[in-house]
Structures are given as C-alpha cells and as structure tokens.
Assembly symmetry: C2
Homo-oligomer: 249 residues x 2
C-alpha cells in the first residue's frame, strides 16, 4: 500500500485542533490541491472562502451547532458552488447563459466541482499531518452565512472544512460493507440480501459504539439513519437555492 492510499484509508474526522494557525504556504498548497481536481467542461464552478476573522468564525461556529471546532482550528474554509463569475462572463461576451446557469444540471455540476475540489483539499491537508472535519452544519442557516461572507447571487455555501493539527485522536469509523455499496453491472436491489448486509453492518456499528462508550451507547446504523431522517431538517433549502439562482429549471 502506498503512502497516499494509507493517508486516504486512515481518515477520521478531527474535532479538536491545536492552537496553531496554518501558514500562508500551507493554505496555498491546500488551495492549489483543491484546484487540481477535475472540473466539468473546465467550468471551475466554485469559490473557496478562507475565514480568518474571529468574529465571523464565532458566528459560524454558533449557527453550525454550536461546534467549537468551527472557531478553534488551524484554518476554516467554506466551499461554495459559484456561477456568479459565469453570469458576468455571459454579460461581457453578450451570450445568453442564464437558462443554463439556472438549470438543475448546472446546480449539480457546481456542487460536484466544489466537492471534488474539497476532497483534494482534505487529502492534501491530511497528507501533511493535519486533520479535517467537514461542516455541513453551516447549512443550518445559509442566508446568514451568505451575508456574513458577502456572497452575491449565484453563489451558495455548501459546507465548511475545518483544518488543523489534531489535538488528541479519534477512531476510523467503519463504513458499509463493500458489497452494500459496490455492485457490478447491475444494481443489487434484492431486499433480502440488502437487509442481510445491513444487519451485519448494524452489528459492527453497535459493537463499535459499545466499545467506545463503555456500554452506554450501542445504536445500530439503520436505527441512527431512521432517527436522523425522521427529522425534517433544512427544509428551506429548495426555496433558498432557487432564490439564489440555482436549480430553477
């Protein structure tokens, strides 16, 4: 196994960081790595905001949870889907780009582009001995995040990425059995074998929590999912993204 794959496989989210800000050079390396990711038709439909202002970080930490590690880390990035630049290009080049920008297709493209870039950033940071944590919690209130970061229309924040040198450690969390998520030639939708795979996984997860909480927790994965998905979370999202000019047609 090479070093890169080793880095990838030992990923675990880090939620406590040393008080050691990243250097400008480290930030540049991480951003260059993000930019090196593939991009659909060369569109590069994302922007990354690095948040240094302590007031803004504090505010983001509150609305995301509160989650202290959004405030206390080596650096905090916000990855945004961005078609604002492309709207401007349409004006300069006198091209009618609006229907395209407002399509669900381009909403997907921008989200995929930003996510590929973010994962490159994560792997680059982890390869330098840093830890990372994705922060979906900023989606609790994207209107406030957008104001805070001065985002124009056609730009939406997707998630944060806290980066820094780990304080303490955490465990690698077991993933679904490979047979559950990787199929060859055809999707395996047979309910019985799907359930068998998930039953086995439930046992693994239950044991994982049991061991790590001295028996206080032993929830199954399917139970967790059912609970999490019963909460109607962030149901404002459809309206929000449309208001910002995405996913309209």
């Amino acid at each position: 196994m090479n070093e890169t794959i080793e880095t990838i496989l030992k990923h675990r989210s880090i939620r406590q960081f040393k008080n050691e800000p990243l250097t400008e050079e480290q930030i540049r390396t991480i951003v260059s790595s993000a930019q090196a990711a593939s991009t659909s038709s060369y569109i590069q439909a994302y922007t990354i905001i690095g948040v240094k202002d302590p007031v803004k970080k504090k505010k983001l930490a509150e609305l995301a949870g509160p989650q202290s590690y959004v405030e206390e880390n080596g650096h905090f990035f916000v990855f945004c889907a961005d078609l604002y630049r492309h709207e401007k290009i349409g004006e300069w080049e006198k091209a009618d780009v609006i229907p395209s920008l407002e399509s669900t297709e381009k909403f997907m493209v921008a989200m995929i582009d930003a996510s590929l870039a973010a994962q490159n950033a994560s792997i680059a940071a982890e390869s330098m001995g840093m830890g990372i944590c994705y922060i979906g919690g900023i989606r609790n209130d994207l209107e406030t995040v957008s104001e805070l970061l001065g985002l124009p229309d056609r730009v939406i924040p997707l998630f944060g990425l806290a980066v820094g040198f780990p304080e303490g450690n955490s465990d690698v969390k077991p993933r679904l059995p490979m047979e559950s998520i990787y199929h060859e030639d055809s999707y395996q939708s047979d309910e019985k074998s799907m359930k068998e795979g998930l039953d086995r996984y439930d046992e693994t997860i239950s044991a994982y929590y049991h061991a790590r909480t001295a028996g206080k927790r032993s929830d199954r994965w399917t139970e967790q999912m059912a609970k999490m998905l019963s909460g109607k979370k962030r149901m404002y999202m459809k309206e929000f993204v449309e208001k910002k000019g995405f996913n309209k047609r």
Copy 2:
C-alpha cells in the same frame, strides 16, 4: 512536497488507456478508498456500479459522446446518489423518512457524499500510476443509463469514472488564478478586479491552446465558457431527478 500532494498536483484527465483490466484487488483498493471519504451524518448516500459487461460499456460510450475511453479502459465506474437504501430502512424501522429523502437538502447531501467518494477513488487510482477521466457525458441520457444499470427509484447516476493505465500522456491544464477562486473573509465581487484576473487567465489559456495545436486553436477561457453555457444542455434534468424522488421539496 510529499508524494500525495505531488500526485494531486500532476492530475490531468486521461482519455486513452492500455488494454489492461484492473485486478480485483486494485478495484477493491479503489472502492475502499472511496468509502473512506467523509460522509454527511454517516449517511453514506451513494452506490458505485462497476461496469464490466462489454455490451453495457459500448452503450454507455455511445450515449456519453461517443467517447471511446468509456468503452476502452481498465475499469469503468458509475457513481450514483443513492437514497433507496434509506427508504427501505424507513420501512423496516417504521419511520417517516420520505419528506427528508425528497428534500433538496438531501439531494445535495447525496451528491456531495458521492463526489467526495469519487475523488478519493481518483486519487487512489492515480497514486497507483493509473489515469482517470470523469465522464459527465452519461448525464446526456440518464433514463437509459438507469435502465441499463437496473437502478431503482431514489438512485441517480451522477457521472462515470474511467480508470486505467495511461496510453501516452496529456498535459496538466492550467487552473484559474488562485486569487480568482480563493478569497479571505469576504467574497471579492468587485467586477473590475474579477475581470482583470480573468483577462490574465484568458491569456494563459490562449497561449496553452496555441502551443498545443500549432496555432490552430487559441480560444480564451471566457469565450469557451460563454459558448458552452449558451447551449441549453440537459435541460431535462430537473424533471428527471424529481421523477426519481429527489429534489422535490
């Protein structure tokens, strides 16, 4: 610079592969790497289909372009956003998960999850000396792709990933200047400086094409984007994803 960052920074898409199928072990390493990526609230909302059947590969290659490298490669993956498993979990656990599954928020979560996994797969493959190419072209006809791969509702193919050992080489394509996509604390929407950055980039890109085509091509990036975005491509997407149970509320 460490090996991982070197791998990341030298990425270029590969569109011609040696006739050398990946081994089962290589496929497992790539899929394990994909699975190690971060996942929103542990949801793991994606499925990867490995396509080996030559008839299916041929069909995918046709509808994606045609693009010969969809058919001729070491292995072809299709990354799908997947909430089908979670619908079943809702039934088994008697939880009302449907409003959540149909939300734009969860459409985003599934897309981001799948993309983070795909980028891990790509970096893992590249670290083993393979090349990759993302295939957005499968989105030309997702209905046919879905039938071909036997996808149930609540599963949508997002993109393909062709992987294999490169035949020949290609160049690293210059990305936007870092100042254009990375801002600190606030989005830099000032039109004048945005235009200056893109003008400089246009010169770079124009020279890049000029050098590589013996002067036959010298298009600017902004020109490319305006042209590409004037085409109203894949406008069926909104209806398609809703029909499949995503992005409905």
